[in-house]
Symmetry: C2
Subunit: 227 residues, 2 copies
């Protein structure tokens, strides 16, 4: 599966160069791989299963994506880059507007894109894949997370620093890390809220949950530094 | 491996009933299993490897623990119950003392025990195993978490409710879930803080990190409800 020089799959071979329908096949493979990696993890997912899910040949997956780490990387980056782009667009929109913006606005701009993933099957598969990253080989998981998340985090922290000049940079970064921990946990584990409360609380509508995290974390961000 | 009626292992067979040194062997197997499950996950861990690590026979593991799910359960509950016990003891000590206690005191009582796990090899293995739980079969992971964490969470939320009477119970539970998300993330992913900040911040000494989480979350808990 790591043979980058594999010849193109037999289907559509009559046309040299880029096969017809490449975009559709690529997306179908990425969708199927996203579901399969989310379900079985990196090690447990096989090209056989992904090929069957996507209704393509295993050779076609190898042709388009190469080895399994390469495929995983494409799956992760496809949605990760979209997430990063949405976050940056919302942050830039805040900075571009005439009205002043608040700590709450900035946190909301960070949270809205990942919560949007809940509404689609593929988005939910990505969230599960993301929650499983801890169990994947570190050298793979760490690099991908850095590539997707670190630049937006720095941009958001820089904007927050302007609103919270009383906080040293290291404290602000550690507060931002707490926001990341919150949303990853809430998104990966929605039903824990009703479990821990024995049904006294539940995961509310997405907008309400975002508003509650914004209220909690904005107050936390404004707190005096404990240091 | 799921044969509960397996005969005792050949070693120390001269003594009927409980083998000599049972406590030591049990603990050695649990320690080795904790490391192996943390490293390889439930599916990837084998009795062969655990037996070699613990310097016992595979038959002895089966004799003491039965099937692999049973062993995983014992590994998880050993440290999970200790954590729950420490939390409850700290909470009860707060309630028993003469001086009034604050939201900060309650949050600290919840956080100190898991941060204590960082100081031992076995504790760190448990934290990694815990972080991997998302990748384990739901029916196993969910039941174990419920058994270990839910009763303490309810006790802590009940005490917090007395200090924060302005908050509806469901909001308070969702705020507490955010605290859980924070500490699980910070403990499982300490180096992310220096990654996201490009070295501008790092995981500080345990006491400082606890103080920072307490300051952040106590302010969050006191915030007006967004609902």
């Amino acid at each position: 599966m790591s043979d980058d020089s594999a010849s193109p799959p037999p289907v559509r071979r009559s046309r040299p160069g880029r096969p017809e329908g490449r975009g559709n096949h690529r997306e179908a493979v990425l969708d199927a791989a996203e579901r399969t990696f989310a379900e079985r993890g990196f090690a447990g997912a096989s090209y056989r299963e992904i090929a069957a899910e996507a209704a393509v040949t295993q050779a076609m997956i190898t042709y388009y994506f190469g080895s399994k780490p390469d495929l995983f990387r494409e799956v992760y980056l496809r949605r990760g880059r979209q997430l990063a782009g949405e976050r940056m667009a919302l942050l830039e929109a805040l900075q571009a507007r005439e009205a002043p913006f608040s700590v709450e606005d900035v946190v909301r701009a960070y949270l809205v894109p990942p919560f949007g993933l809940v509404t689609s099957t593929g988005g939910r598969a990505f969230l599960r894949l993301q929650a499983r990253l801890h169990a994947e080989p570190d050298e793979m998981a760490f690099g991908l997370r850095r590539e997707v998340y670190d630049a937006p985090v720095r941009a958001f922290v820089t904007v927050l620093a302007g609103l919270l000049p009383h906080l040293p940079a290291d404290v602000l970064y550690r507060r931002f890390a707490q926001i990341i921990g919150i949303y990853l946990y809430i998104l990966s584990d929605a039903h824990r809220i009703s479990e821990i409360s024995a049904g006294a609380a539940a995961m509310p509508a997405t907008e309400t949950m975002i508003a509650e995290i914004v209220a909690f974390t904005a107050a936390g961000l404004r707190a005096q530094s404990a240091a």
